[in-house]
Each structure stands twice: as C-alpha cells, then as structure tokens.
C-alpha cells in the first residue's frame, strides 16, 4: 500500500480523494516548479505558476480520461498558464520585472552558478523558443508531444527549436569553455 500506480492515484483524485491528489502533486511538483523556474527565471513567479497550474489541473481533472500521458497533459496545462503569465508580463513594464527578479531574497537559483548560466541562456531566448528548448532538452518530450501540448504543428516546433539553437550560440560556447 506504500506504492500506488499513477492511474490509481488519478482515479482516486477524480473521485475526490484529497490524499491521492496530494500524492499526485508531490510526484510532479518538483518537475513543474523547475519547468516554471526555467521559463520565468524567478522562483516566486515559478511558485505562483506552479500553483495556478495545479489548480487548473484539479479543476479539469474530470476531463482527463488517459488519452495521453498524465505528464503530457499536466505540462500542456502548465504551458497554458505560462503563456497567460507571459502575455500579462508583456503588457507590464519589463524593466520593473527584471529588477524584481534580481532582488529575490530566498531564491535558491541564485546560489548555483551552473544553473545561473543556464537560466541566463534561457532568458536570452524569446518565450516561444524558450518553451521549446525547455520541453525538448529538459523534459525530453518528442516533437509530436510538444506540438500537442502547445497546439501547434510539429514543423513549427522544429523551426522554433532550430531558431533557438541558432540564437544560443554565444551562451553555449561560454558554458562549454567553462566546463
């Protein structure tokens, strides 16, 4: 009884079992949090986004019938929340946002230099390309799965990835030299 399959947990959570829902959150929260963290570069925004994503997932949990993997579905919901977040962020002043991110006191990302480089490289990309790089190299989704999550064609995914790879030339070289 210590281990329960994800399908059982999902079914139980769908039936209103709070413990099962909390277990599901625990299983995926780190992945979702790091995903949001790499996309936003800010731990507070990442936490907010993670929470919003889990809330959305819970609200629409009854719509999940196992047609895709739970992780794929969870990330598609998270992507939608991230896109909303960046849409709102574009409307607000970017300078204000940068200064907020730089002064985050309890952000553990700041403590690790390797991670900082990666974050810097990611933040240098436009959001659409950053999303693809994140889903491809950090979450290891296939082109088809990414296309499904973002509701775009696989060819668009590929072209965005290649554009991102082209733009990432300078930061990558820096990291490679350092390593």
């Amino acid at each position: 009884m210590f281990f329960q399959s994800q399908d059982k947990l999902i079914k139980k959570a769908q039936q209103g079992d709070q413990a099962a829902w909390l277990k599901l959150i625990k299983q995926h929260e780190q992945q979702v949090y790091n995903h949001c963290l790499r996309l936003t570069g800010d731990c507070h925004d990442a936490l907010d986004l993670m929470q919003e994503a889990f809330m959305s997932v819970y609200r629409s949990l009854h719509n999940f019938h196992g047609q895709s993997q739970f992780k794929t579905w969870l990330f598609s919901v998270t992507q939608a929340r991230c896109m909303d977040f960046f849409r709102k962020q574009r409307q607000s002043s970017p300078l204000e946002k940068v200064s907020e991110a730089a002064n985050t006191p309890n952000c553990p990302v700041q403590l690790q230099s390797d991670n900082q480089h990666i974050h810097a490289a990611l933040q240098a990309l436009p959001f659409e390309q950053r999303q693809i790089v994140e889903l491809k190299f950090f979450q290891h989704f296939t082109f088809e799965e990414i296309a499904e999550q973002l509701a775009i064609s696989p060819n668009t995914v590929k072209s965005r990835l290649y554009s991102a790879l082209g733009k990432m030339k300078a930061p990558l070289e820096v990291i490679r030299v350092e390593s």
Binding site: Q15, G16, Q18, W21, L22, I25, E29, Q30, Y33, N34, L37, R38, C43, L47, M50, Q51, F54, M55, Y58, R59, N106, P108, V109, Q112, D114, N115, H117, I118, A121, V133, K136, F137, F138, H140, T142, F143, K158, L161, Y162, L165, G166, M168, K169, L172, I175, R176, S179
Partner: protein, 198 residues
Amino acid sequence: MSNHEITAHELLEKWLDGEQLTEAQHARVLADPETKLLFEKAQAWQNMAHSYEEQSVPSDTPIAIPEIKQVSRFQGNWMQWGMAACVGFLSILSVQLWQQNKTLEQGLVVQQTQIEKQQDTMQQILQQMQKGQNLQADLTNQVLLTNRAERQVALDDLLAFLQTQRAQDQAILRLQLNELAEQVEHAPTEIVAQNGGH
C-alpha cells in the same frame, strides 16, 4: 537501404526525438555542416540539461492546498449529491414508468376481455338471427308444401265431383233414353206410321 533515403536533417530530428543513431547515421549527420552545427548545439543543450541541478520546491512558501481541498470537498460533495439526485430521479422515473405500464397493461386486459365479451354476444345474436332465418325458411317451406297439398286435394275433389256429375248426367240421359225407348215401343202404330211418314 532505407537509411540512404533519409536525409541528415531527418536523422538529426530522429536523434532529437530520443532515437539512437548508428555510427554510420551519426557520421552522416556530422558530414553535413548545417546539421553538424545543430547537432553540436543540441548536444551542448543536452549536457546543460543533464548538469542542471533540480531545485526543490521551497517548503516555507505556502502552496494553496487548503484552497484546493475546499474546492475538492465542494466538488466531491456536489458530484456525490448530483449523482445521488440523478439516481433517485431515475429510480422514481423508472418506478413511475413501471406503474404506468402496469395500469396500461391492466386497462388493456380489461378492454380485451370486454371486446371478447362483446364478440361473444355478437356471435350469439348472429346465431340467433341465423336460427330465426332458418325457422322462417322452414315455415315458408311448410306453408308452400301445405298450400301445394291443399291445392292438390281441391283439384282431386273437383275432378271427382266433375266425374260424379258427369256420371250422374250420363245416368239421367240413359234413363231418359230408356223412357223414350219405352214410350216408343208402347206407342200406337198410326203414330209410329205418321211419324214414319213425315
């Protein structure tokens, strides 16, 4: 053979989708300068992703699980009540339908028996009418027969009467002739001669 048809770009895409490349395929990807560059960058990204230290979720930051709990309790209760209401409604509906069916069945049975009774009475009436008609037919036959018989008897009587009349007439005529004969025989000769002379 099919490997020759796949371009270096497609091989790169396969590799990016997690497929293992053979050494020949790997060489083909590296042979093309454009795909080689993309491959190296992608590989560098993979290494970076591998070296990335996953951050643990800050435990001191409260996550809105109580809110989720409330939502879940509400939704769970709502769903349960909704399901219970649906089940109750459906069961009441089915009982009502069953009762309606039963009353309809009973009504149909009553109507059927009434129709059967009516059919029986109609048949009885028809049989009686048939009997009456048969009786009438018998009566007319009998009347005709008696008429015929009576007529026959009357004719026979008439014939008998006529025969007796005729016989009587003949007898009277015979008597008269006999009287005349006797008168002739006993009459004087002069009268006979006179009569003979005329």
